[in-house]
């Protein structure tokens, strides 16, 4: 017997008090937040941030971004996500509605290379009002150009669109930061994957 998939539907404009309650100031616990790796996690601590733009180039203030990544050794966690924020969690979730510049910002560690890949990357999922199905993309690192050049997934992307997947490193006084802006449409439309 086979069963058809349940269709995806939009998160709508009012997800915050259900999915990102702590970030938006609602009285409920959250499953995931901007801390992907707490202070006790091994590896190079980094921030990943960006903005989301619609087809008119207008900043999206009601998107929700999720990330899923390996730890610094290239291992995906199979342990329950720790609900204290001290160690490595692997999962992050952030809405774009609370930052003054409508950024999403994650505190994490740079992932190692996983066994079936050639370059380090972070899975990024985009949800928002106006998307009936979420979209998957990947964040690669600008300081990994040799490894990026050997990554089969990256090389399968049309050459003129590859740089939409590369987050630019910026070493700031408060640590390394990678900028990953997401363009839903237009000349710089981010590459989204059918996984």
């Amino acid at each position: 017997m086979s069963y058809g998939e349940t269709p995806s539907q939009t998160v709508g404009p009012y997800f915050a008090y259900g999915l990102t309650p702590v970030q938006y100031g609602y009285d409920f616990t959250d499953l995931a937040n901007f801390v992907v790796a707490g202070p006790d996690a091994k590896g190079e601590h980094i921030r990943v941030m960006g903005q989301v733009f619609d087809g008119d180039g207008v900043l999206v203030s009601d998107a929700m971004i999720e990330i899923w990544q390996a730890d610094e050794a290239g291992q995906y966690s199979s342990e329950p996500v720790s609900m204290d924020n001290a160690g490595f969690r692997g999962l992050g979730r952030c809405g774009t509605g609370t930052d003054a510049d409508n950024r999403f910002v994650f505190h994490t560690v740079k992932p190692g290379v996983v066994a079936d890949a050639a370059a380090p990357f972070i899975n990024v999922t985009v949800f928002m009002r106006g998307m009936l199905t979420h979209a998957f993309t990947r964040l690669y690192f600008s300081d990994e150009s040799d490894a990026n050049g050997t990554c089969a997934v990256l090389q399968s992307v049309p050459a003129d669109r590859r740089d939409t997947l590369i987050a630019a490193r910026n070493d700031t006084p408060t640590g390394p930061e990678y900028r990953f802006d997401i363009y839903m449409q237009g000349d710089r439309e981010t590459v989204f994957f059918d996984v």
């Binding site: 058809g4 998939e5 939009t10 009012y14 259900g18 999915l19 998957f136 996984v195």
Partner: protein
């Protein structure tokens, strides 16, 4: 390695669904680049049962301040499974919804229906070892939205699940049988295939209805399937 069957795009809406105006500037327009799911898509977050606290699965109680929420109490039962009917155990289901008068607690909801001081409208539950889940809530009201003149969302509950891997991630909405707004709703109608979108409508079941307390509904959720063995098609 975990292999997932490809997403069945016939069961989902296109990114650009013109009846739902916000999709026009927000849905990707270029073709998706297909990649074979690997470790990063075949793995996903695992949660301990402790993330679901005592009242998280009872929205009729988890927002009470000085009384009980107004509205029709319902109990939603369902089973999370894959496309072959295999249960998806131990997966968290996050739920959120409007109150009985169609108003969200969310600070930007401008609809002038009343808030209910005893209803927050968010919670979560977890499927058991057989994929079964249950939560109690108040039947949400319809609410207007700005998509077109006299646009009203049918009664619905938002649900969010991870399933066994990042590739099975699903955010969806559960609707109610017999709702006259369904045939007018661009979000529900965004899924072009009629059989597929009717899977979004819960079933009313008298035998899940609790005598003197709450109406019972069944809403099964089907996530993408796995390739079990190479022999199985």
């Amino acid at each position: 390695m975990t292999g997932f069957k490809p997403r069945d795009w016939n069961s989902h809406a296109p990114y650009i669904a013109p009846g739902y105006k916000s999709t026009l500037l927000r849905g990707p327009t270029k073709p998706l680049v297909a990649i074979k799911p690997g470790l990063s898509e075949g793995t996903g977050p695992v949660f301990a049962r402790a993330v679901v606290r005592d009242l998280d699965w009872d929205l009729t109680k988890n927002g009470c301040v000085n009384g009980a929420p107004i509205g029709e109490r319902i109990v939603v039962h369902g089973r999370v499974m894959d496309g072959d009917g295999r249960p998806v155990p131990n997966t968290v289901i996050e739920v959120w919804q409007a109150n009985a008068s169609g108003r969200y607690v969310h600070k930007v909801d401008q609809h002038n229906a009343p808030l209910d001081p005893n209803f927050r409208g968010s919670g979560r539950c977890m499927s058991d070892e057989n994929g079964n889940y249950v939560f109690y809530t108040i039947k949400p009201g319809a609410y207007p939205w700005g998509n077109h003149f006299n646009a009203w969302r049918p009664n619905h509950i938002h649900l969010s699940l991870f399933g066994p891997g990042f590739a099975t991630r699903l955010v969806t909405q559960m609707y109610f049988p017999g709702d006259p707004l369904l045939d007018l709703d661009p979000i529900f109608l965004g899924t072009p295939d009629e059989d597929a979108r009717n899977r979004l409508v819960a079933k009313f079941l008298i035998d899940k209805t609790e005598e003197g307390f709450a109406l019972g509904y069944q809403f099964d959720i089907v996530l993408r399937g796995r390739f079990a063995t190479p022999m199985e098609d």
